[in-house]
Symmetry: C2
Subunit: 700 residues, 2 copies
């Protein structure tokens, strides 16, 4: 298992252990002792022969080997030497609790680099600095400044905020949530989420990994590690900072529509990470995933003793796409036999307000016996005749005999259901305060099943296209252009098999007329100037030009407008292009996210792009299957599928274009942004035309 | 105060009081006695001389007057006579706990009618039957079968579900939420929500009214009572059953887009009722509204000892439209003086992880002194140095000296913050488990302030228009049409000042050519047949016809298509209509909701209506100001405002058309549905054109 020195150490040295209560070096030692760690615990402090009844050593070099883990709580300036001594002593990992590094300014940052450098040279992995430390309940290891040991269990929790980590650990005690590891990553000088994901993926004590993130540093490493972990266990992420600062200057449609949160959203989806929107989601999902089997397929039964909560559960299931089970006839017969006449037999099953535990039991027997029931939500309100605790015992008992079925509870109330809630918790049945939260957790399970079973992308071979496009892009780079020319952009996407109407650059009116004659009318005319990014904003675009006379007029008009827009504008000419056939308009765009790389946008195109914002994003690569899924996910998919008698659009050609754009930007890291807007989509079988293509380049 | 016999009785008789523990007639008496009611308590039971130490009377007629309230727990068949006896004894109100009425089938329904009839004749108000009863904490009156008395306070809770009521009361005990009245309405034979809203509006002990609804019976009474109550205190409603059954057969666009939940949503908005989406919302809002002043204006300060929760609060505020305060310079100076260098001074204010109560106090002093701060959210995570209880005491103390500022807390954690949570609860500072829930409550307060301060609709005088349209509608009724003709529909909306392009009905091709000659080309041609509701679905519509030759061809084509669609179709002719000028397309529609009356829809029109579903709804009347608001609320408002160099559309003309449609359907209850689709919207100043109008009529 990776990071075993950190997560499963044989012995731990506390460097900077102290005798003064309240100080970090004391608290960490107290926590280690109180945790009950079985291995060696060695205080290191040159000025104290004994601390808390343990012999203290002047240096880690004096401690009898092996020492796998050092917890460091000395002043920042002393940390580099401590790390070097640890290396000499054969320590495998060090937790640097000390603060005073990158978070405190340039001098601290330099010190952190020094510490990291010493650790690298000494072959030591570092957690922190400026962190709360680590708790591993199954090792009885509390190597932290975080407080009491939480209950043991399957949830590994990795937090970028020590403060939030403390609150969540403390709350876990209230909610009876079992923790395997708590890791406070602090400044992440060395160990960061990808390392921990890799380690926790292999940790048999961990059944679900929960992350609190404020940022991701190396997007590709994160995606790889999370994507791998998701294959074996759920990964839940709470990402703070979703509101868009809007600070980034962007020129493309795609860029203007993609805030930084869009990239995280796409990244989580790409890797199959379940996103928790709030701390409450994080708790709810972690409780469900860690205590119950993942809902394997659609088919949820709702059992209740009151109508209202059942309606709420049904509403929520409808809203979240959680399918209720249709019971088979045997189930209905059985329910009819055991329940009173007034009971509701169809899903939800209402055993009525006067139901005792027996009626719940009979109904549960029928439900668990139905092969179409993969999950059960048991609802209860404490009415006059209700014995909530007895019902809870019944649920725990019956659920334990069907360990493949996901069983969640929602026993609503206060003092009247407290004992029942304790019984459910002890029986590993998560109890949610509202029906909606139980359903929301099932929806997260559905999302996880889809994500964890997704197959690898099927990518097309594009070496020929790459070769064709290479020279064009290289030329644009050599000309120091930020945007390649209209014609070059057309050539590049054409190389990847996306049709572009024929066109030509014309330096003056006569050449424009000549070009149009060769290309054939109707044509569009577009001004070509490095100073104009959005042609239609300045009237630099005329479409549907049907004759040479119209073209002459259009030429003058477009140039006049350009000069009115900016008198000293440099006009390289006009681009004359055959009009694409009429069709529906979509957009395909690329924006390169600084963390996660190329982000592909698809949506309704033309004037609607920025108004309706009916666009969705994916990280590249996007293969054909994913492209097809994207198309169906936009709100206006109905327009493409064909609404009110209109024939369906050529969806296959759109999907092909999406996947080819994805291939293009992965082939050329120089492409910083790309907009095909509009991509004109013909009817089924008629293909697509890229009516306007912009490609921005940069980098190396 | 209305319903004072029910809510403030001087004495209570329990008819059907019994000696057998667990039976309703015993439990109710026990609850009454345990509640500590000060007035007379009189068991009525002919077969027991004494119950629970109280003298029992053979009949309510034997009880010494005055008896204001009777709680009835006798078998259903005995209830009518009991009610008659109550009337004779001068009882003002009766709570019928007994079941076996409408909920049990036709015989029970007949019995309920009998009971109601006797009550009406005797001048008695009825609560129930089939209900849990009533609790009024300030009267120490527990006239219910619901269990223990909840803590006293300002929340009145009216529930259509007894079971959910019990759960919520029980939970209120846990959360320390104070209740003024709990009313279980049962079958609502007599007293229903409007009666209770009117009574609770005048009840000084009640500061917030919470409703659990499964249905509303008399929409207008509900709207009137809720709208009135909202002027003096917040009304929160949790409505179960939001998922649309889709069972209703509808023919109009508007009808197909308006599920039943849309009507409730519009009704709550109309009356100013705050909607709780879940039981959790209900609790969160009730806690905030009952314990704190309503956030009077934008300007919220966030105070924290950890970055993560502050980011979450900021994200939520951004998403919910809750504006954070910008501190004035004095505040910033003061914060700079009292906080460490590393603290964040701008909103959110981060007092850092090692903050003690003093640092919180200093920061709070600065924040409460800032006139731009109307609300404060205090966040806390239990870190190593944190004294959560002391901070809680500080918050309670400082908040109590600024009773005009809304103060909410979010102390996150478990055992480490329990004492702090108790202190906050005792100090009437609502504590939310997550920052998002605190912000969500502030958003509800904003919504309440908007709703409670809204002025009455300003309606235009339309008597002239009504007179003009009257004959047309009367004629359509006399012809037994379900839909008025194209021309009549045009005449009706034109009477209300909405422009319709000139048109005429033509019985054959020659008359069509003649009509077009008079009207002027270009024209549109629409098939007229009672069997065709959606012309474009069957190719019965041709637009942009520029010449007589085109018109002849179009005529043949449209008729051929109609016959292909249905060989034995009855074609009354074609409607020839001048093409409206080009413009942006919107839809205005009316669907008459069976409970709440005319529901007005506005949105993006044409082919986009059903695909993008970018529409919003309001109950009528909709005045100009509300119409203007509707226009800005659709997602594609940007298209109307003018995007990418397009000039703004004539928004004032759209608002006028909306308000006129509202007036039209209020003037004519015979109009069951109406679609103007598209309404063509010209540029600013150019007006609007109703290109196609459908009006369905019915009723009396």
């Amino acid at each position: 298992m990776p990071l075993s020195s950190l997560l499963r150490p044989r012995a731990v040295a506390v460097i900077g252990a102290g005798r003064e209560p309240g100080k970090v070096g004391h608290v960490v030692l107290v926590n280690l002792l109180n945790g009950g760690f079985d291995g060696g615990i060695y205080p290191v402090n040159p000025r104290a022969p004994e601390i808390l009844g343990l012999r203290s050593y002047p240096s880690v070099l004096d401690v009898p080997p092996p020492v796998d883990l050092a917890v460091v709580a000395v002043p920042a300036r002393a940390v580099p030497d401590v790390v070097s001594e640890c290396a000499e002593a054969g320590v495998g990992a060090a937790i640097i609790i000390s603060a005073g590094f990158t978070e405190s300014g340039p001098a601290g940052a330099a010190l952190q680099r020094e510490v990291l450098d010493r650790a690298h040279r000494g072959g030591i992995r570092l957690l922190g600095p400026n962190c709360l430390g680590l708790i591993s309940t199954h090792e009885k290891l509390n190597a932290s400044f975080a407080g009491a040991m939480p209950p043991g269990g399957g949830i590994a929790f990795v937090s970028q905020s020590g403060a939030l980590g403390t609150a969540i650990l403390d709350r876990a005690t209230d909610d009876g949530l079992g923790i395997s590891h708590f890791v406070s990553v602090g400044n992440r000088a060395d160990i960061s989420e990808p390392d921990l994901l890799a380690a926790l993926e292999e940790d048999s004590a961990t059944t679900v990994i929960a992350l609190y993130l404020e940022s991701v540093r190396d997007g590709q490493r994160f995606l790889d590690a999370a994507g791998s972990a998701v294959r074996s266990k759920p990964v839940i992420a709470l990402k703070a900072g979703t509101s868009d600062s809007g600070a980034r200057a962007v020129s493309s449609h795609t860029g203007s529509l993609a805030g930084s949160d869009v990239a995280y959203e796409a990244a989580f989806r790409h890797a199959g990470v379940i996103r928790a929107r709030t701390v409450q989601d994080l708790f709810d999902f972690a409780a469900g995933f860690s205590q119950q089997p993942v809902l394997s397929a659609p088919g949820v039964a709702i059992l209740t003793n009151a109508g209202g909560p059942a309606v709420m559960a049904t509403d929520a299931a409808d809203g979240e796409g959680v399918a209720l089970a249709s019971f088979d006839s045997e189930t209905l017969t059985r329910l009819r036999e055991v329940l009173p006449d007034a009971a509701a037999l169809y899903n939800p099953v209402d055993v009525l307000g006067d139901a005792g535990p027996d009626r719940y039991r009979e109904a549960l027997e029928a439900l668990y016996a139905d092969p179409g029931v993969r999950g059960v939500i048991v609802l209860l309100t404490p009415q006059a005749m209700t014995d909530a605790a007895a019902v809870a015992r019944t649920v725990v008992d019956r659920a334990s005999r069907s360990p493949e079925v996901t069983t969640l509870a929602c026993f609503m109330g206060g003092p009247l259901v407290h004992e029942a809630q304790r019984i459910l918790a002890a029986g590993s049945i998560p109890n949610y305060p509202t029906p909606e939260r139980a359903v929301h957790t099932l929806a997260a399970m559905h999302a996880y099943v889809r994500a964890s079973s997704a197959s690898a992308p099927q990518l097309e071979e594009t070496s020929a296209a790459r070769e064709t496009a290479h020279a064009t892009i290289a030329r644009a780079r050599s000309e120091n252009r930020t945007f390649v020319t209209e014609q070059s952009a057309a050539d590049v996407v054409a190389a990847y098999g996306i049709h572009v109407p024929p066109g030509a650059l014309a330096a003056d009116q006569a050449s424009a007329l000549e070009a149009a004659g060769e290309i054939g009318y109707p044509v569009a005319l577009k001004i070509v100037s490095p100073q104009i990014l959005h042609k239609s904003d300045v009237g630099g675009l005329k479409v549907g030009i049907g004759s040479p006379a119209e073209l002459s007029r259009a030429y003058d008009e477009v140039l006049d407008r350009a000069r009115a827009y900016a008198p000293d504008i440099v006009v390289e000419g006009v681009h004359v292009q055959r009009m694409a056939p009429a069709g529906r308009e979509v957009i395909i765009g690329i924006d390169r996210d600084p963390v996660f790389g190329p982000l592909l946008m698809f949506g309704l195109g033309g004037v609607y792009v920025e108004v309706l914002r009916d666009v969705i994003f994916r990280l590249c690569p996007v293969d054909m299957r994913e492209a097809e899924r994207m198309i169906t996910e936009i709100r206006s998919f109905g327009l493409l599928r064909g609404a009110r008698g209109q024939p369906p659009a050529d969806l296959a050609a759109v999907a092909t274009a999406i996947s080819r754009v994805s291939a293009l930007v992965l082939d050329f890291p120089q492409i910083m942004e790309l907009d095909i807007n509009p991509l004109i989509v013909g009817n089924h079988g008629d293909g697509v035309w890229a009516a306007d293509v912009r490609i921005g380049i940069g980098g190396t």
